[in-house]
Every structure is written in structure tokens, then in C-alpha cells.
Symmetry: C2
Subunit: 413 residues, 2 copies
């Protein structure tokens, strides 16, 4: 047994300790953790400085790696927020008495052990640990070597609080940041119930392709806004602009705009000056390209510009004949993340909401709302673009599994 | 693009046709299918005979492969049963109005495309197709080459009914039974939402280890019955005997019996003649071995006899000091399938139900109840021993995913 597997097994063995705590006790652990983090701010900032100083100052990841007083405050605030979220464990999801007298209950219970693989941000260590503790799960963490000192300091604080609560430090286990650790996580099906990659698309794909432990994939978002011919022009402009420019680097930002032929000239006339203000680069199909003549940041769309996640002030535009063409385009190019229709025609809206297969579908609202906090679920681990277990914002409420509890009086089959 | 991938893509492209049907229409398709199957009985039996005649008559799988009038009737009956199950699609799982006026709904929707890999039983073709059609999912099926003619005949009947209902035959696609097909299924993440292996443990492990498409694993069951010291002796004997002998070849049968020291002599005295009647081979720990002296089918338990799924009239027996020892033993050896405690002490029972991590936990009832039909969920695809998406009986209700539907009046973030 390798050192890593021994550590993982220790986390698995310690997991029942967390399951045994009640809601109040779990909340208390997190409140103490937030306090302790603020108290030991200089300790963790010093460790973080050592990480930052090791880096090439031109490393673009340096900003994600760096902690400061404000960020520590933010992390402590997040931990307190997680502690106040409703308890995801112990919900009775189904309750029935069978004909033979058996009392059947399906209840939510902790998953057991959560594995996480993440990149340079040291706040992820606290995020995952807090969500796991809150939901009664042990966790094994594999951060990046760049954040080694910061992560060790973070876990030292966490361990201190765990011990003060009579818990084994193994319930939050920091694994070696070596690359080999990842291979061990991938095959530890006996001890780990779910593996969560958090970071770049490359990391997520690598984990999905190689892990035997079930993975929750939080993938890329190629999001569309479809302006139907009965759209209110003002709403359509507001939503399009918001979906594209409010935060272009995130997965719920708009990547492609589809416009009904009938409304396209009037709509684009209104939209043009708004997008120009933000210097949004437009990749237009031939029809919209003609309509956008004179727009300073205009390109001709190539085939690969559809289905592209821009993560920048860029978007594709296409004029369609009707909603069926829009729906078919989305089916072909979307990553099933967030899709919106703008229209005053209720029937058309409902048809779109029903037919489009995505984690979140919107009528007359910006795709930017797809977010755990916005949905009232609290801090999210990511937006799941897969269909099993968690879809859309993957937050505390989904860090559980189900258990059938059957109470009888001696029944046999 | 290979022939197989083209077929899979065709199923993906056709899937929206099923999603567009309402509950009544989907039910009708299944009722017609059941009728057509009975009408075309001689056609499918002839195809099946061709498969059976190809086999070595000593092939133990020949019985699973063989269809007859009674089995056809059974399959048609199952299809009708599935058609009568409650609609798993369109359930509103959550509904909330956000402060900004957005109306948020989480609803159940079809998964999209279900992939299935299975072995010689040709009834699985009908089972999976019926469950998928009922839940609005397209499916791609990879059966075994042994059942090639039977599966082709089955799908011919299914396609006829689909066409009569104006649906593309591609919504139920039978893939080539070649081994290479499996590799293509494993990587078709773009088109397949979940892959379900159905058959031997070897097949399931192979799929889990190699598939990039998410898998629902229906694994082995190493199930325990724990007779606590406050157990009612009659209930304990009834439950133990039922859990072991009523159908030893299935995954919810008991594999190991744990007995509190204090009650062990009295309990084993009562149990012995019952198990002897069925010639149950007992692998006993030293303490119970002494108590079972004279029992004709007695062996000494080796370490590997714990954690063994016997699938036969065999079981391990171990005497424990208390419930903590029993719970720890279960944690170590169980596959988290079905675990039972027999006791009249409610507090002890609740402690066990809470602490033991398994898909189904029982107080004073036989582990044999873990079953989709018994739980009132209808025909099951298997018992899921994993923790994501589906746990325990994996039935129609879990062939869905969730979708967030957000209705606004022009909201932006």
C-alpha cells in the first residue's frame, strides 16, 4: 500500500466520525474554523508569500495563487455562509408503508469520502473542506504544487479545529501534490465516492477520461441567446448585453446570439451601439454581416466559431428563419449549460423551454443567472454540464446520496 | 466516422422525437409493443431457436438465452407493467420565486440517450427499450453475439411499432454485437448520457474501468444480518433463513451472519435445524464453530470468507461482542448493498440504521426485500451499489435528469 492510499484509507476510516455529528455540531466546527482562520491570518499569509515568491513574477496564475487580508476575510465569510446553509443531510425524500407493513423511507445521507483535484487557488482548500464538513463528508484534497505552502498552512488550521472538536484530522486529508497522487485517486474506488476536478477545462477532461471513481464534471459553457421575432426589443438588448459583457470570462456568459430574420434588422440596429461601447468582437454569418456593415469589430463567422466558448468580449451571431432552426442550432452546438429565449410569445417560449436540453433554460432573462448563489443554493463547486446526480449549479445540497431505511416487525419475503 | 458512431449519432439526433411525446402517447407505444410481441411470437421464437441451435448444448448460458411461449408472455406482461408506471418526467422537484422576480423551477426531464451493454438474455432488449421509451429516452443497445438473431427480431418488432407511431426507428438502435462496438460506446460522451452494463460482475467491472461515459454500476451484494442481543429469537431465525435460502443466487441474499455473544448459544440452537434442512454450508469463526459442533455442513471460516458473495447455500458466521463490533465488521466487509439488524431494542436499531452505510438498511426484516418491484418502483435495471444519481433499486424513476427552468420579465444580473 502506497503512502497516498494509506492516507486515503485513513480518511475513509475516519469518515463515520463526521456522520455521527448532528447539524448543530457541524455548524459549530465551521464557525470555529472561520474564527481561527482570521486569528491565524499572518500565519497563512506568510506561508502564501513563500509560494508566491517561488513563482516567476510573469506567471499569469500568480494572481489566483496570492492571498491577502481581503481574500482571507472573504474566505472566512464564505465558511460562515456555508455553516448557515440548510442541512442537506437527513431529508426524508420518500416515505411509504408497503402492503406487508414495512415502513419504507428514503433519506439523504453524506456521500462518505469526497476527492478533489484542483489548481493554484488556495481558497479551494477551504471551500471544499467547508462544504464537505457541513455535509458530513470526509475529503481528500490534491492541490497544486505551486500552492503547497498555502495548502499546508490551511490544513494545519483546519486540523487544529477538528482536533478541538474531538475529530480525527484525517477527515480533511491533504495529499501530496505530486503528479502520481492523481493516478492513485483515479483508482481508489474502494474508498472514494466521488471525485471533483476544479479548475481548467484541461484538468476536468483529464480527470473524466482517466478516473474510475465517478466524477462530477463541471464543464465548459457554450451559451446561446435566441431573440425570437416577437421579442421586446429593449428586453432583448438588455439581456444580450448583460449575458455577453457583465463577466465575459465565466461559463454562463453568452457565446452566440441567434436572431429571427423578421426582427434582425431592427434588433441589430439597437444592439450595435451597445456592443460597440464594450468593443465586443462579432463573428457574423453572411446575413447579419450585411446588417452590421460599418460595425468596427466585425468578422466573418467561420464554422468553428459556432460551438466556441469565447470567455472574452467576442460572440458569434446568426440569423435564423424560425424557432425550430434556432432550437436545432442549439442542439448541435451547445454544451447544454445555459440557453435563453427572448420573446413576448408565451407559446413559443414554452416550446423553447421544453425542447432545449440544457442544465438551465431561460425565458426573458440573462444566462448569467446560472449560479449557486443566485439560485439560492449557496456556494457552488461548479456548474455541472453532465446529467447524472447533479445538473447545473453543483452545491452543498448535492454532496449527499440516498439511503433506503426499512423498518419491519419480522417480515420475510 | 465509424458505422457504430454514425448509428449512435442517429439515435442522438432522433431522441428529441421521444421527448416531444406526452405521457399518454408514450404509454400507447408500449401497449402496442406488448400486443405486437404476442402477435409475432412465432417470428421471434424462430429467431431465438436459430440462436439456441448455434450453441454448444452444454453451454450453461443456454437457459438464459432460450425464449418460449411462457417467457414471451412474461416479457409482454412486463412491458404493460412499465407502461402503467407513473410518469417519471415533468415532476416539479423545486419551485421558488427569487427576490428579483425570477420564477425558478427544477423539473425532471429525460436523460437523452441511454447506452446498454448486456449479455445473453434477449429479454433485456425489451426491458431496456420499454423503460427508455416510457421515460422519453432514446437507447443504443449492445447485446451479445449469442443472442444476435433474437435481438434482431426483437428490434424489428420494436421498429415496426415505432414507425406506426410516427417515430424514427433510430430511437431504439441495436448496435453490432462485435467487441469493437464496446470501445466506441465507451468514448461516445458527446452522444450518450449514461451507460448501463447489465450482466455478470466481470462485465460491470470492465465497463466501469473503461468507460468515459458515466456508468451506473449495479454491483455485487455482500449482505449481513446482525442478530443483536435483544433480538426476538423467532424473528431472528425467520429473517436469517429467509435472507439465506429463499433465493441464494441473487445479490440481496445474506452472505454473513453476525451474532451478539450473549444470544449466540440460544439463537444458534434454534437456527441449526432450520439451516440443516436446506443443507446450508456454514463458514464459522472459532466461537460459533464450537457452538455449532455436530452441524453436518460446518467449515472453519478463513479470512477471505468474510466479504465473499456466496450466491449459493453458504454463509459465514461470526460472534461479536456488541453492536459497535458488528457495525465495524460491516463497514469493513460489506459492499454497501443491504444490511439488517434484528433486535427489539429500538435505540440499538436506530443506531445501526444511522451508522451503517448501505443502499438499504433494515430493522427486523429480511435483506431480500431490496428490489424495485418490492419497493413499489417497478421493474429495475439492477441494484445500484454506487452513490451518485441512483442508489439501491435502479428503476424507471431514475432514468431522468433535472433541468432548471427560469421564467423572467427581462431580468439581468
Amino acid at each position: 500500500m502506497s503512502v497516498t492510499i494509506k492516507q486515503i484509507k485513513k480518511a475513509y476510516d475516519a469518515a463515520p466520525q463526521l456522520r455521527a455529528l448532528d447539524n448543530k455540531q457541524l455548524k459549530k466546527v465551521l464557525m470555529m474554523l472561520a474564527d481561527e482562520l482570521e486569528k491565524q491570518q499572518s500565519f497563512i499569509l506568510k506561508a502564501n508569500r513563500a509560494d508566491v515568491e517561488k513563482q516567476d513574477p510573469d506567471n499569469p496564475r500568480i494572481d489566483r495563487l496570492r492571498l491577502d487580508e481581503k481574500r482571507i476575510k472573504g474566505i472566512a465569510g464564505s465558511i460562515r455562509k456555508v455553516s448557515r446553509l440548510p442541512n442537506p443531510v437527513g431529508k426524508v425524500l420518500e416515505k411509504r408503508k408497503l402492503k406487508n407493513g414495512l415502513l419504507l423511507e428514503k433519506v439523504s445521507v453524506p456521500l462518505g469520502v469526497v476527492g478533489a483535484i484542483y489548481e493554484s487557488r488556495p481558497n479551494v482548500t477551504f471551500d471544499i473542506a467547508a462544504l464537505c464538513i457541513r455535509s458530513g463528508n470526509a475529503c481528500v484534497l490534491k492541490g497544486s504544487s505551486e500552492a503547497e505552502n498555502s495548502n499546508r498552512a490551511a490544513v494545519k488550521i483546519i486540523h487544529q479545529v477538528l482536533k478541538e472538536n474531538g475529530l480525527s484530522p484525517a477527515v480533511v486529508t491533504l495529499l501530496s501534490s505530486d503528479r502520481e497522487t492523481v493516478q492513485e485517486l483515479f483508482t481508489a474506488t474502494q474508498y472514494i465516492d466521488v471525485l471533483i476536478p476544479r479548475g481548467s477545462d484541461g484538468l476536468i477532461q483529464f480527470v473524466r477520461q482517466n478516473s474510475q471513481v465517478p466524477v462530477i464534471e463541471t464543464g465548459a459553457g457554450v451559451c446561446h441567446v435566441y431573440v425570437q421575432k416577437k421579442a421586446d426589443l429593449k428586453k432583448a438588448v438588455d439581456i444580450t448585453v448583460n449575458a455577453k459583457v457583465s463577466r465575459p470570462s465565466v461559463c454562463n456568459a453568452m457565446d452566440a446570439l441567434l436572431i429571427d430574420q423578421a426582427i434582425a434588422p431592427a434588433f441589430l440596429r439597437k444592439l450595435k451601439p451597445e456592443l460597440e461601447q464594450y468593443k465586443v468582437e462579432i463573428f457574423a454569418d453572411p446575413v447579419s454581416h450585411r446588417m452590421l456593415k460599418g460595425y468596427p469589430y466585425l468578422r466573418k463567422a467561420k464554422k468553428e466559431d459556432y460551438g466556441r466558448e469565447f470567455l472574452a468580449l467576442k460572440c458569434a451571431v446568426k440569423v435564423v428563419n424560425n424557432s425550430d432552426e434556432a432550437i436545432e442550432h442549439i442542439r448541435k452546438y451547445s454544451t447544454k449549460h445555459s440557453e435563453a429565449i427572448v420573446t413576448e410569445d408565451k407559446k413559443q417560449a414554452e416550446h423553447f423551454l421544453h425542447e432545449v436540453d440544457a442544465a438551465a433554460v431561460y425565458h426573458n432573462a440573462s444566462t448569467r443567472f446560472t449560479d449557486g448563489e443566485e439560485f439560492g443554493l449557496g456556494a457552488e463547486i461548479g456548474i455541472s454540464t453532465q446529467k447524472l446526480h447533479a445538473r447545473g449549479p453543483f452545491a452543498l445540497e448535492k454532496l449527499v446520496t440516498e439511503k433506503w431505511v426499512i423498518r419491519g416487525q419480522g417480515q420475510v419475503r
